[in-house]
Protein backbone atom coordinates (compact mmCIF):
# COMPACT_ATOMS: atom_id res chain seq x y z
CA UNK A 1 0.00 0.00 0.00
CA UNK A 2 1.46 3.28 -1.02
CA UNK A 3 0.69 6.20 1.25
CA UNK A 4 0.64 8.69 -1.60
CA UNK A 5 -2.31 7.12 -3.36
CA UNK A 6 -4.53 6.95 -0.26
CA UNK A 7 -3.83 10.44 1.12
CA UNK A 8 -6.68 12.91 0.59
CA UNK A 9 -6.05 15.89 -1.69
CA UNK A 10 -3.95 18.64 -0.12
CA UNK A 11 -6.76 21.18 -0.46
CA UNK A 12 -8.79 19.25 2.14
CA UNK A 13 -6.04 18.52 4.62
CA UNK A 14 -4.76 22.09 4.52
CA UNK A 15 -7.97 23.48 5.95
CA UNK A 16 -8.16 23.54 9.73
CA UNK A 17 -11.02 21.98 11.59
CA UNK A 18 -13.50 24.62 12.76
CA UNK A 19 -15.85 22.37 14.71
CA UNK A 20 -15.20 18.84 15.91
CA UNK A 21 -17.59 16.75 17.98
CA UNK A 22 -16.40 13.37 19.23
CA UNK A 23 -18.63 10.63 20.59
CA UNK A 24 -21.17 13.04 22.03
CA UNK A 25 -23.72 11.66 24.46
CA UNK A 26 -26.52 13.69 25.98
CA UNK A 27 -29.26 12.56 28.31
CA UNK A 28 -32.16 14.46 29.81
CA UNK A 29 -32.71 12.49 33.00
CA UNK A 30 -33.14 8.86 31.99
CA UNK A 31 -33.83 9.79 28.36
CA UNK A 32 -30.71 9.47 26.19
CA UNK A 33 -31.17 11.88 23.30
CA UNK A 34 -27.70 11.65 21.71
CA UNK A 35 -26.06 8.26 21.83
CA UNK A 36 -22.55 8.85 20.54
CA UNK A 37 -22.41 11.31 17.67
CA UNK A 38 -19.23 12.55 15.96
CA UNK A 39 -19.15 15.29 13.37
CA UNK A 40 -16.49 17.52 11.91
CA UNK A 41 -16.61 20.75 9.93
CA UNK A 42 -13.47 22.18 8.37
CA UNK A 43 -13.08 25.90 7.76
CA UNK A 44 -15.49 26.83 4.96
CA UNK A 45 -17.56 23.68 5.22
CA UNK A 46 -21.33 23.68 5.25
CA UNK A 47 -22.43 20.64 7.23
CA UNK A 48 -26.17 20.05 7.30
CA UNK A 49 -28.03 17.95 9.84
CA UNK A 50 -31.26 16.38 8.70
CA UNK A 51 -33.57 13.98 10.49
CA UNK A 52 -37.05 13.58 11.87
CA UNK A 53 -38.51 15.61 14.71
CA UNK A 54 -37.01 14.56 18.04
CA UNK A 55 -33.98 12.87 16.48
CA UNK A 56 -31.65 15.18 18.44
CA UNK A 57 -30.64 17.78 15.83
CA UNK A 58 -31.27 20.80 18.04
CA UNK A 59 -29.69 19.13 21.04
CA UNK A 60 -26.55 18.42 19.01
CA UNK A 61 -26.34 22.02 17.81
CA UNK A 62 -26.97 23.35 21.32
CA UNK A 63 -24.25 21.14 22.76
CA UNK A 64 -21.73 22.66 20.36
CA UNK A 65 -22.05 26.07 22.05
CA UNK A 66 -22.90 24.59 25.46
CA UNK A 67 -26.47 25.83 25.67
CA UNK A 68 -26.84 22.19 26.70
CA UNK A 69 -24.18 20.47 28.76
CA UNK A 70 -23.01 17.27 27.08
CA UNK A 71 -23.21 14.14 29.22
CA UNK A 72 -19.97 12.89 27.72
CA UNK A 73 -17.80 13.30 24.64
CA UNK A 74 -15.40 15.97 23.41
CA UNK A 75 -16.08 19.25 21.68
CA UNK A 76 -13.33 21.20 19.94
CA UNK A 77 -13.84 24.64 18.44
CA UNK A 78 -10.99 25.78 16.20
CA UNK A 79 -8.89 22.99 17.65
CA UNK A 80 -9.46 24.22 21.21
CA UNK A 81 -11.04 21.67 23.48
CA UNK A 82 -13.65 22.88 25.92
CA UNK A 83 -12.44 21.96 29.38
CA UNK A 84 -15.01 20.19 31.49
CA UNK A 85 -15.28 19.08 35.10
CA UNK A 86 -15.88 15.50 36.12
CA UNK A 87 -19.66 15.99 35.96
CA UNK A 88 -19.39 17.27 32.39
CA UNK A 89 -20.11 20.94 33.15
CA UNK A 90 -17.70 23.45 31.61
CA UNK A 91 -14.79 24.20 33.93
CA UNK A 92 -14.08 27.69 32.67
CA UNK A 93 -16.94 30.15 32.25
CA UNK A 94 -14.69 32.60 30.40
CA UNK A 95 -13.68 29.96 27.87
CA UNK A 96 -17.32 29.14 27.19
CA UNK A 97 -18.16 32.82 26.74
CA UNK A 98 -15.25 33.28 24.35
CA UNK A 99 -16.21 30.21 22.35
CA UNK A 100 -19.84 31.30 22.17
CA UNK A 101 -18.70 34.68 20.85
CA UNK A 102 -16.99 32.83 18.00
CA UNK A 103 -20.13 30.84 17.08
CA UNK A 104 -23.05 32.81 15.66
CA UNK A 105 -26.27 31.04 16.54
CA UNK A 106 -29.51 31.60 14.67
CA UNK A 107 -32.68 30.22 16.25
CA UNK A 108 -35.92 28.95 14.78
CA UNK A 109 -37.84 31.61 16.73
CA UNK A 110 -35.38 34.45 15.84
CA UNK A 111 -35.08 35.52 19.50
CA UNK A 112 -34.34 39.15 18.75
CA UNK A 113 -34.46 41.17 21.98
CA UNK A 114 -37.92 42.67 21.99
CA UNK A 115 -37.08 45.82 23.97
CA UNK A 116 -34.30 46.86 21.61
CA UNK A 117 -34.49 48.25 18.09
CA UNK A 118 -32.94 46.28 15.25
CA UNK A 119 -29.78 48.39 15.39
CA UNK A 120 -29.61 48.10 19.19
CA UNK A 121 -29.90 44.33 18.84
CA UNK A 122 -26.93 44.30 16.49
CA UNK A 123 -24.61 46.47 18.56
CA UNK A 124 -25.58 45.08 21.97
CA UNK A 125 -22.84 42.49 22.39
CA UNK A 126 -20.11 44.28 20.40
CA UNK A 127 -20.55 47.42 22.51
CA UNK A 128 -21.55 46.11 25.92
CA UNK A 129 -19.61 42.86 26.07
CA UNK A 130 -16.73 43.17 23.60
CA UNK A 131 -16.33 46.89 24.46
CA UNK A 132 -15.94 48.03 20.88
CA UNK A 133 -16.30 51.77 20.23
CA UNK A 134 -19.97 52.49 19.62
CA UNK A 135 -19.58 54.35 16.34
CA UNK A 136 -17.47 51.50 14.96
CA UNK A 137 -20.09 48.94 16.02
CA UNK A 138 -22.86 51.02 14.46
CA UNK A 139 -20.93 51.30 11.18
CA UNK A 140 -20.43 47.52 11.08
CA UNK A 141 -24.08 46.92 11.98
CA UNK A 142 -25.32 49.25 9.22
CA UNK A 143 -23.17 47.47 6.66
CA UNK A 144 -24.64 44.11 7.70
CA UNK A 145 -28.20 45.44 7.75
CA UNK A 146 -27.64 46.71 4.24
CA UNK A 147 -26.39 43.28 3.25
CA UNK A 148 -29.53 41.53 4.54
CA UNK A 149 -31.74 44.26 3.05
CA UNK A 150 -32.91 45.84 6.29
CA UNK A 151 -31.35 49.30 6.18
CA UNK A 152 -34.76 50.94 6.33
CA UNK A 153 -35.66 49.06 9.51
CA UNK A 154 -32.77 49.86 11.82
CA UNK A 155 -34.94 51.83 14.23
CA UNK A 156 -37.87 49.42 14.23
CA UNK A 157 -38.63 47.14 17.15
CA UNK A 158 -38.65 43.43 16.24
CA UNK A 159 -42.39 43.02 16.87
CA UNK A 160 -43.05 45.41 14.00
CA UNK A 161 -41.15 43.28 11.46
CA UNK A 162 -42.27 40.26 9.47
CA UNK A 163 -40.83 36.88 10.43
CA UNK A 164 -38.52 36.93 7.44
CA UNK A 165 -37.23 40.38 8.35
CA UNK A 166 -36.73 39.32 11.97
CA UNK A 167 -34.74 36.27 10.94
CA UNK A 168 -32.58 38.32 8.57
CA UNK A 169 -31.95 40.77 11.41
CA UNK A 170 -31.05 37.85 13.68
CA UNK A 171 -28.53 36.62 11.11
CA UNK A 172 -27.04 40.10 10.88
CA UNK A 173 -26.83 40.19 14.68
CA UNK A 174 -24.86 36.95 14.66
CA UNK A 175 -22.57 38.26 11.90
CA UNK A 176 -21.76 41.37 13.96
CA UNK A 177 -19.66 39.11 16.17
CA UNK A 178 -17.48 38.15 13.20
CA UNK A 179 -17.99 34.51 14.13
CA UNK A 180 -15.67 31.68 13.13
CA UNK A 181 -18.71 29.57 12.33
CA UNK A 182 -22.49 29.89 12.20
CA UNK A 183 -25.02 27.55 13.78
CA UNK A 184 -28.49 27.55 12.23
CA UNK A 185 -31.31 25.68 13.94
CA UNK A 186 -34.19 25.39 11.47
CA UNK A 187 -33.94 29.07 10.53
CA UNK A 188 -36.96 28.98 8.23
CA UNK A 189 -39.28 26.57 10.05
CA UNK A 190 -41.24 29.32 11.83
CA UNK A 191 -41.77 31.35 8.65
CA UNK A 192 -44.73 31.65 6.36
CA UNK A 193 -43.86 29.88 3.09
CA UNK A 194 -43.60 33.10 1.09
CA UNK A 195 -40.94 34.42 3.48
CA UNK A 196 -38.66 31.37 3.40
CA UNK A 197 -36.90 32.38 0.20
CA UNK A 198 -35.56 35.71 1.41
CA UNK A 199 -33.93 34.05 4.44
CA UNK A 200 -32.49 31.15 2.44
CA UNK A 201 -31.00 33.69 0.01
CA UNK A 202 -29.09 35.31 2.86
CA UNK A 203 -27.86 31.96 4.15
CA UNK A 204 -26.81 30.95 0.65
CA UNK A 205 -24.79 34.13 0.25
CA UNK A 206 -22.98 33.25 3.48
CA UNK A 207 -22.21 29.78 2.20
CA UNK A 208 -20.99 31.24 -1.08
CA UNK A 209 -18.48 33.48 0.66
CA UNK A 210 -16.99 30.43 2.31
CA UNK A 211 -18.40 30.64 5.82
CA UNK A 212 -18.30 27.60 8.04
CA UNK A 213 -21.80 26.57 9.00
CA UNK A 214 -23.62 23.88 10.88
CA UNK A 215 -27.15 23.91 9.57
CA UNK A 216 -30.31 22.12 10.67
CA UNK A 217 -33.04 22.37 8.06
CA UNK A 218 -35.99 20.63 6.47
CA UNK A 219 -35.41 22.45 3.17
CA UNK A 220 -33.92 19.45 1.37
CA UNK A 221 -33.44 21.12 -1.99
CA UNK A 222 -31.58 23.98 -0.34
CA UNK A 223 -29.50 21.55 1.77
CA UNK A 224 -28.47 19.68 -1.34
CA UNK A 225 -27.39 22.89 -3.07
CA UNK A 226 -25.37 24.55 -0.33
CA UNK A 227 -23.95 21.67 1.74
CA UNK A 228 -20.56 20.01 1.54
CA UNK A 229 -21.63 17.24 3.84
CA UNK A 230 -24.99 15.90 5.03
CA UNK A 231 -25.57 14.05 8.28
CA UNK A 232 -28.78 12.10 8.75
CA UNK A 233 -29.63 11.67 12.43
CA UNK A 234 -32.02 9.00 13.58
CA UNK A 235 -32.94 8.53 17.20
CA UNK A 236 -29.74 10.08 18.55
CA UNK A 237 -27.33 8.31 16.22
CA UNK A 238 -25.89 9.05 12.79
CA UNK A 239 -27.73 6.67 10.53
CA UNK A 240 -26.01 7.78 7.35
CA UNK A 241 -23.75 10.61 6.16
CA UNK A 242 -21.94 11.73 3.06
CA UNK A 243 -21.78 14.32 0.30
CA UNK A 244 -25.19 15.67 -0.72
CA UNK A 245 -25.36 14.04 -4.14
CA UNK A 246 -24.65 10.65 -2.64
CA UNK A 247 -27.02 11.06 0.30
CA UNK A 248 -29.94 12.45 -1.67
CA UNK A 249 -29.11 10.68 -4.96
CA UNK A 250 -28.33 7.23 -3.66
CA UNK A 251 -29.43 6.83 -0.04
CA UNK A 252 -28.37 3.49 1.43
CA UNK A 253 -30.36 2.97 4.62
CA UNK A 254 -34.03 2.14 4.52
CA UNK A 255 -34.75 4.77 7.19
CA UNK A 256 -33.14 7.56 5.19
CA UNK A 257 -35.04 6.51 2.07
CA UNK A 258 -38.25 6.57 4.09
CA UNK A 259 -37.36 9.96 5.59
CA UNK A 260 -36.56 11.52 2.22
CA UNK A 261 -39.82 10.23 0.82
CA UNK A 262 -41.76 11.72 3.75
CA UNK A 263 -40.28 15.23 3.40
CA UNK A 264 -40.34 15.56 -0.37
Amino acid sequence: MSIATTAPPASITARAEAIRVEDLHKSFGPHEVLKGVSISAKEGDVVTLIGGSGSGKSTLLRCVNFLETPSSGRILIGGEEVRCRGDGTPADRRQIERIRQSLGMVFQQFNLWTHKTVLENLIEVPVHVLKKPKDEAIATARKLLDRVGLSAKENAYPAFLSGGQQQRAAIARALCMEPRAMLFDEPTSALDPELVGEVLAVIRSLADEGRTMLLVTHEMKFAREVSDHIVYLYNGLIEEEGPPDQLFGAPQSARLKQFLKSVS
Binding site: L67, R93, I96, E97, F107, Q109, T114, H115, V125, V129
Partner: protein
Amino acid sequence: MESTFGLLALSPPGWGGTLLIALWASIRIAVGAFGIGLVIGLAGAYGKIYGGPVLRDCLSVYTTMVRALPELILILLLYFGLTDLLNRALMALDFGRIQISGVVAGIIVLGVVQGAYATEILRGAILAVPSGQIEAAKAMGMPARKVASRITLPTMLGLALPGLSNLWLIATKDTALMAIVGFNELTLATRQAASTTKAFFTFFIAAGLIYLVITLLSTWGFARLERWARRGDPPRQTGGR
Protein backbone atom coordinates in the same frame (compact mmCIF):
# COMPACT_ATOMS: atom_id res chain seq x y z
CA MET B 1 -63.49 79.76 54.67
CA GLU B 2 -61.30 82.37 56.24
CA SER B 3 -60.68 80.17 59.25
CA THR B 4 -59.90 77.14 57.07
CA PHE B 5 -57.14 79.01 55.30
CA GLY B 6 -55.97 80.31 58.65
CA LEU B 7 -55.76 76.79 60.05
CA LEU B 8 -53.84 75.55 57.03
CA ALA B 9 -51.48 78.56 56.84
CA LEU B 10 -47.86 77.60 56.53
CA SER B 11 -46.62 79.53 59.56
CA PRO B 12 -48.01 79.19 63.10
CA PRO B 13 -50.65 79.49 64.34
CA GLY B 14 -51.54 77.75 61.02
CA TRP B 15 -50.65 74.05 60.80
CA GLY B 16 -49.76 73.91 57.10
CA GLY B 17 -46.02 74.00 57.71
CA THR B 18 -46.24 71.18 60.26
CA LEU B 19 -48.22 69.08 57.82
CA LEU B 20 -45.78 69.69 54.99
CA ILE B 21 -42.82 68.73 57.17
CA ALA B 22 -44.67 65.57 58.15
CA LEU B 23 -45.51 64.93 54.49
CA TRP B 24 -41.85 65.24 53.61
CA ALA B 25 -41.03 62.66 56.30
CA SER B 26 -43.71 60.33 54.91
CA ILE B 27 -42.36 60.66 51.38
CA ARG B 28 -38.81 59.99 52.49
CA ILE B 29 -39.91 56.83 54.28
CA ALA B 30 -41.99 55.67 51.34
CA VAL B 31 -39.22 56.26 48.79
CA GLY B 32 -36.57 54.69 51.00
CA ALA B 33 -38.73 51.69 51.88
CA PHE B 34 -39.73 51.17 48.24
CA GLY B 35 -36.06 51.38 47.21
CA ILE B 36 -34.94 48.90 49.85
CA GLY B 37 -37.90 46.73 48.94
CA LEU B 38 -36.76 46.67 45.30
CA VAL B 39 -33.23 45.70 46.25
CA ILE B 40 -34.44 42.96 48.60
CA GLY B 41 -37.01 41.91 46.01
CA LEU B 42 -34.48 41.60 43.20
CA ALA B 43 -32.07 39.62 45.33
CA GLY B 44 -34.95 37.55 46.71
CA ALA B 45 -36.39 36.82 43.28
CA TYR B 46 -33.05 35.70 41.86
CA GLY B 47 -32.40 33.71 45.05
CA LYS B 48 -35.74 31.96 44.77
CA ILE B 49 -35.22 31.13 41.11
CA TYR B 50 -31.53 30.22 40.99
CA GLY B 51 -30.56 29.71 44.64
CA GLY B 52 -29.84 26.45 46.41
CA PRO B 53 -32.47 24.65 48.51
CA VAL B 54 -31.42 26.26 51.82
CA LEU B 55 -31.56 29.79 50.41
CA ARG B 56 -34.89 29.08 48.75
CA ASP B 57 -36.37 27.78 52.02
CA CYS B 58 -35.13 30.82 53.94
CA LEU B 59 -36.64 33.14 51.36
CA SER B 60 -39.93 31.26 51.48
CA VAL B 61 -40.09 31.64 55.27
CA TYR B 62 -39.42 35.37 54.84
CA THR B 63 -42.02 36.04 52.15
CA THR B 64 -44.65 33.83 53.80
CA MET B 65 -44.21 35.30 57.28
CA VAL B 66 -44.20 38.90 56.12
CA ARG B 67 -47.21 38.44 53.91
CA ALA B 68 -49.12 36.46 56.53
CA LEU B 69 -48.81 38.90 59.44
CA PRO B 70 -50.71 42.17 59.64
CA GLU B 71 -48.38 45.05 58.83
CA LEU B 72 -49.14 46.76 62.11
CA ILE B 73 -47.87 43.76 64.06
CA LEU B 74 -44.81 43.51 61.84
CA ILE B 75 -44.00 47.13 62.40
CA LEU B 76 -44.30 46.83 66.17
CA LEU B 77 -42.33 43.60 66.12
CA LEU B 78 -39.57 44.84 63.87
CA TYR B 79 -39.37 48.31 65.37
CA PHE B 80 -39.23 47.35 69.04
CA GLY B 81 -37.73 43.92 68.44
CA LEU B 82 -34.91 45.15 66.24
CA THR B 83 -34.01 48.18 68.32
CA ASP B 84 -34.06 46.06 71.45
CA LEU B 85 -31.89 43.40 69.84
CA LEU B 86 -29.49 46.01 68.54
CA ASN B 87 -29.19 47.70 71.92
CA ARG B 88 -28.61 44.44 73.73
CA ALA B 89 -25.85 43.63 71.30
CA LEU B 90 -24.32 47.07 71.77
CA MET B 91 -24.55 46.79 75.58
CA ALA B 92 -22.89 43.40 75.49
CA LEU B 93 -20.06 44.95 73.52
CA ASP B 94 -19.85 47.81 76.04
CA PHE B 95 -21.19 50.45 73.72
CA GLY B 96 -23.92 52.76 74.93
CA ARG B 97 -27.57 52.52 73.90
CA ILE B 98 -28.52 54.18 70.69
CA GLN B 99 -31.73 55.80 69.58
CA ILE B 100 -32.56 54.88 65.99
CA SER B 101 -34.02 57.82 64.13
CA GLY B 102 -37.64 57.46 63.18
CA VAL B 103 -37.01 57.89 59.47
CA VAL B 104 -34.28 55.25 59.37
CA ALA B 105 -36.35 52.82 61.43
CA GLY B 106 -39.37 53.46 59.23
CA ILE B 107 -37.40 52.88 56.04
CA ILE B 108 -35.89 49.65 57.31
CA VAL B 109 -39.10 48.25 58.78
CA LEU B 110 -41.32 49.09 55.82
CA GLY B 111 -38.50 48.11 53.43
CA VAL B 112 -38.46 44.61 54.89
CA VAL B 113 -42.22 44.40 54.40
CA GLN B 114 -42.05 45.76 50.85
CA GLY B 115 -39.19 43.40 50.02
CA ALA B 116 -41.37 40.35 50.59
CA TYR B 117 -44.02 41.53 48.14
CA ALA B 118 -41.42 42.77 45.67
CA THR B 119 -39.73 39.35 45.75
CA GLU B 120 -42.91 37.70 44.51
CA ILE B 121 -43.73 40.39 41.94
CA LEU B 122 -40.23 40.30 40.44
CA ARG B 123 -39.97 36.51 40.60
CA GLY B 124 -43.16 36.21 38.56
CA ALA B 125 -41.97 38.80 36.05
CA ILE B 126 -38.53 37.23 35.63
CA LEU B 127 -40.09 33.80 35.03
CA ALA B 128 -42.40 35.33 32.43
CA VAL B 129 -39.46 36.48 30.28
CA PRO B 130 -39.44 34.18 27.24
CA SER B 131 -36.50 31.78 27.52
CA GLY B 132 -35.43 32.57 23.95
CA GLN B 133 -34.53 36.13 25.00
CA ILE B 134 -32.06 34.79 27.54
CA GLU B 135 -30.76 31.99 25.31
CA ALA B 136 -29.95 34.44 22.53
CA ALA B 137 -27.87 36.45 25.00
CA LYS B 138 -26.09 33.39 26.37
CA ALA B 139 -25.44 32.06 22.88
CA MET B 140 -23.62 35.29 22.05
CA GLY B 141 -21.31 34.86 25.01
CA MET B 142 -22.87 37.37 27.37
CA PRO B 143 -21.74 36.85 30.97
CA ALA B 144 -24.58 35.98 33.36
CA ARG B 145 -24.54 39.40 35.06
CA LYS B 146 -24.87 41.18 31.74
CA VAL B 147 -27.71 38.86 30.74
CA ALA B 148 -29.53 39.85 33.92
CA SER B 149 -28.91 43.59 33.70
CA ARG B 150 -29.21 44.11 29.94
CA ILE B 151 -31.76 41.51 28.88
CA THR B 152 -33.77 39.94 31.71
CA LEU B 153 -34.44 43.05 33.79
CA PRO B 154 -35.42 45.40 30.95
CA THR B 155 -37.64 42.69 29.45
CA MET B 156 -39.42 41.90 32.71
CA LEU B 157 -39.87 45.57 33.64
CA GLY B 158 -43.05 45.98 31.62
CA LEU B 159 -44.47 42.88 33.28
CA ALA B 160 -43.46 43.95 36.79
CA LEU B 161 -44.50 47.63 36.70
CA PRO B 162 -48.24 47.19 37.35
CA GLY B 163 -47.43 45.18 40.49
CA LEU B 164 -44.65 47.54 41.52
CA SER B 165 -46.95 50.52 41.04
CA ASN B 166 -49.40 48.94 43.49
CA LEU B 167 -46.57 48.27 45.89
CA TRP B 168 -45.46 51.89 45.77
CA LEU B 169 -48.97 53.12 46.56
CA ILE B 170 -49.07 50.71 49.50
CA ALA B 171 -45.72 52.12 50.63
CA THR B 172 -47.07 55.68 50.62
CA LYS B 173 -50.02 54.65 52.76
CA ASP B 174 -48.12 52.27 55.06
CA THR B 175 -46.08 55.24 56.24
CA ALA B 176 -49.21 56.14 58.21
CA LEU B 177 -48.66 52.99 60.28
CA MET B 178 -45.43 54.49 61.60
CA ALA B 179 -47.68 56.74 63.72
CA ILE B 180 -48.09 53.76 66.04
CA VAL B 181 -44.47 54.00 67.12
CA GLY B 182 -44.83 57.74 67.62
CA PHE B 183 -43.18 58.77 64.39
CA ASN B 184 -44.27 62.16 63.22
CA GLU B 185 -45.46 61.45 59.69
CA LEU B 186 -48.42 62.94 57.89
CA THR B 187 -51.19 61.01 59.61
CA LEU B 188 -49.90 61.61 63.13
CA ALA B 189 -49.32 65.29 62.44
CA THR B 190 -52.84 65.56 61.05
CA ARG B 191 -54.26 63.99 64.18
CA GLN B 192 -52.33 66.39 66.38
CA ALA B 193 -53.48 69.36 64.37
CA ALA B 194 -57.05 68.15 64.43
CA SER B 195 -57.20 67.45 68.15
CA THR B 196 -55.48 70.70 69.06
CA THR B 197 -57.75 72.88 66.94
CA LYS B 198 -60.83 70.64 67.06
CA ALA B 199 -61.10 71.23 63.29
CA PHE B 200 -61.16 67.49 62.55
CA PHE B 201 -62.92 67.81 59.24
CA THR B 202 -60.56 70.38 57.81
CA PHE B 203 -57.41 68.53 58.63
CA PHE B 204 -58.47 65.01 57.72
CA ILE B 205 -59.85 66.21 54.38
CA ALA B 206 -56.62 68.10 53.79
CA ALA B 207 -54.57 64.97 54.57
CA GLY B 208 -56.87 62.87 52.39
CA LEU B 209 -56.37 65.26 49.50
CA ILE B 210 -52.62 65.11 49.93
CA TYR B 211 -52.67 61.29 49.75
CA LEU B 212 -54.93 61.52 46.70
CA VAL B 213 -52.56 63.88 44.92
CA ILE B 214 -49.62 61.54 45.68
CA THR B 215 -51.60 58.65 44.22
CA LEU B 216 -52.61 60.51 41.08
CA LEU B 217 -49.07 61.72 40.40
CA SER B 218 -47.67 58.23 41.02
CA THR B 219 -50.20 56.54 38.77
CA TRP B 220 -49.39 58.98 35.99
CA GLY B 221 -45.64 58.45 36.47
CA PHE B 222 -45.89 54.68 36.53
CA ALA B 223 -48.11 54.66 33.45
CA ARG B 224 -45.48 56.64 31.55
CA LEU B 225 -42.74 54.35 32.78
CA GLU B 226 -44.71 51.29 31.72
CA ARG B 227 -45.38 52.71 28.27
CA TRP B 228 -41.65 53.22 27.89
CA ALA B 229 -40.82 49.74 29.20
CA ARG B 230 -43.29 48.22 26.75
CA ARG B 231 -42.00 50.20 23.78
CA GLY B 232 -41.10 46.99 21.94
CA ASP B 233 -44.42 45.22 22.53
CA PRO B 234 -46.29 44.13 19.41
CA PRO B 235 -49.00 46.53 18.25
CA ARG B 236 -52.31 45.79 19.97
CA GLN B 237 -55.09 44.33 17.93
CA THR B 238 -57.87 46.87 18.18
CA GLY B 239 -61.58 46.37 17.72
CA GLY B 240 -63.45 43.12 18.31
CA ARG B 241 -62.96 41.12 21.47
